[in-house]
């Protein structure tokens, strides 16, 4: 299968918050056509683990991670919009990160990669957008880590986006989320195959397997799993022989998901990206949350999430929406009912589609779908 992946090389020294790298590359994919006024561009930032392949295209027909959201006549309608999905700086799907070769040494950066921040990811993404000749985006959008990155983008480059959509994200991670991610990182670092980051080959796959399983628990919800698995057991022939083998269906489900993940994601990249989410706090910009959110340049804003999200709970989305609400901004806040937890934006897309569709139809048919202020908090 051919790839739709494109690359932008950032020439020279790229300054990060905690160090610098030389000539980094950022991978991205694009859909639709940039109009002559260059006013219809949408930048999409991703969660921790996806690549830039958010949707299928002529060059790569495999379904993307947000396939139902992006395309002709889909909520982010590529008949109207020029969509660019950016693989995060620090990731391992084409963009420069800890797994990339450090030109100074000819070896992978590994732990010599500077501490990564969400702001760095936003800044690197901004370089891609500028390289495409886009001075002002129609919208910057993202979910989970991508929702934080979209917020950082609008704080750091207030004139660079007309609107902002942040889904299932927050102004910062709370200690519960920090604790969970800290445990995930420790699982990887404790794996003897991690070798303090200097692994060869597949590296710490058992640590990565554990981290992914714990990720599944934080991304989904107890209610969904109760409905889906209950206390169902795996069939006898699927049981393994070892003590404490896989016995319940939910254990088998986690194992299958983890097995898909390991081998595809670089462990050091995971550690860096995971930490970047702990470190981000919009309040670090200007010394207070109010000051940080005042820097946001977007004038149309949608903050959305679901009630069953325990990684970025609804009250954090409300906090963000309330903090952003100002007379010169149109802020919508939507708290959806979904039992799918943090991952609802991926697995319960039908619930998000009308919301995203409304937001993106707004400028196209303003009289048909008036924006309703839902700041009823």
């Amino acid at each position: 299968m051919s790839s739709a992946r494109l690359f932008h090389s950032i020439e020279g020294t790229f300054q990060m918050q905690h160090g610098s790298i030389v000539n980094p590359v950022i991978a991205y994919e694009k859909w639709g056509q940039l109009n002559s006024q260059k006013s219809n561009a949408v930048a999409l930032f991703t969660g921790l683990s996806p690549s830039a392949h958010a949707a299928s295209s002529a060059e790569d027909s495999s379904p993307g991670w947000w396939e139902g959201m992006i395309g002709p006549d889909r909520p982010i309608d590529t008949n109207k919009f020029f969509v660019v999905c950016i693989n995060s700086l620090g990731s391992c799907f084409g963009s420069t990160g800890p797994a990339s070769i450090n030109p100074d040494t000819g070896e992978p950066y590994r732990l010599d990669f500077p501490v990564l921040t969400i702001e760095d990811i936003a800044s690197a993404g901004h370089e891609v957008i500028k390289s495409l000749g886009i001075a002002k985006l129609y919208a910057v959008i993202g979910a989970s880590m991508g929702g934080m990155t979209a917020l950082a983008y609008s704080i750091l480059f207030p004139a660079a986006s007309e609107s902002l959509v942040s889904i299932s994200a927050a102004r910062c991670t709370l200690p519960f989320g920090i604790a969970l991610r800290s445990i995930q990182r420790e699982m990887i670092r404790n794996d003897p195959l991690w070798q303090k980051g200097n692994y060869a080959g597949k590296g710490p796959i058992s640590g990565m397997r554990l981290a992914r399983k714990l990720g599944m628990v934080t991304y989904r919800s107890a209610a969904e799993w109760e409905k889906r698995f209950g206390r169902e057991r795996v069939s006898e022939e699927r049981k393994t022989d070892d003590a404490f083998c896989i016995d319940f269906e939910v254990e088998s489900y986690m194992e299958a998901h983890a097995n898909k993940f390991i081998g595809t994601f670089d462990a050091n990249c995971y550690l860096y990206l995971s930490r970047s989410m702990d470190l981000f706090d919009a309040a670090d910009h200007g010394g207070s949350l109010e000051a940080g959110l005042n820097r946001v340049g977007a004038r149309r804003i949608l903050i959305a999430g679901v009630r069953s999200d325990h990684l970025f709970p609804a009250h954090q989305q409300r906090e963000l929406a309330v903090g952003l609400d100002r007379d010169d901004r149109q802020v919508s806040y939507v708290n959806l009912h979904s039992i799918y937890g943090h991952d609802s934006f991926l697995v319960d897309m039908d619930r998000f589609r009308p919301l995203i569709s409304d937001f993106f139809m707004q400028e196209i048919k303003p009289s048909v779908v008036p924006m309703v202020r839902k700041l009823n908090v």
Copy 2:
């Protein structure tokens, strides 16, 4: 310090659900005096990790894990009640378990110990109670795993207890809890020092550290940690040098708790006890939940928990209370407000004390504290 620990030897073969062991020993502690009618005895079962040292005594003045609940003029008043706390079969604080010597081999049982069930723990505890000459308990009580064990006790030995108190427990573990415990067990089993259970010395301490940290996340609540730690950082001098070091206070807190735990708890015992909680389901007794709960012999029942518990959520306590409600039983169900999550019964004891106190004063002063049916579900 002298110990208050007592031991009951179960002579001969002790039949477990999935095998048998010979001459097991069960450790326990006791407080108060058994009255001449032997009608004032209370059996207390514990959570996964505590010993039988629930409270201080003349023999051991160190505070117990439920110090505020048991003693003279405390909610379980040892001026009136004879209290026996039982160290679970399978544990490592005096009772026979995987870390004990198998008399057949002269070596520790390790993974040759039969699969452990909550029913086994209840049955072994029942042997202790019988050995003390007690035909019918005033009450059987427990929280978390102990609450499951108390329920199992009243199902297996319906005539052996007048009343039942189950706190922050459930009729079974839901897949969310199974998933979390499965990950904890995998952390331990993945530690190369586990050696498939055949470790010497301290064994898999890094796996145990991780399991304890994840335990902390499941035992407490996001709201408590948000209030307690926020995004506070550790001071520079407390940071370690390694990449991805402890940076946030919540990480330091987990590390300190885990360090207290490792070395005190045997890893194989942890694995067995953890699995026993996954396996228990009251519905396994008689083929349905209704049938299982119909076997419960207790006539006065208190089912209590807290709203912030995500390991045994409130709806599970409600399910248990509703299932137990019958005309010939007096069932109370209380859903407390506490931000301390599953561990509220330990760390927010003031909220539980009036409840337990009311329950245990009932037979003593029935006219003063009438039992209120709170089955308002």
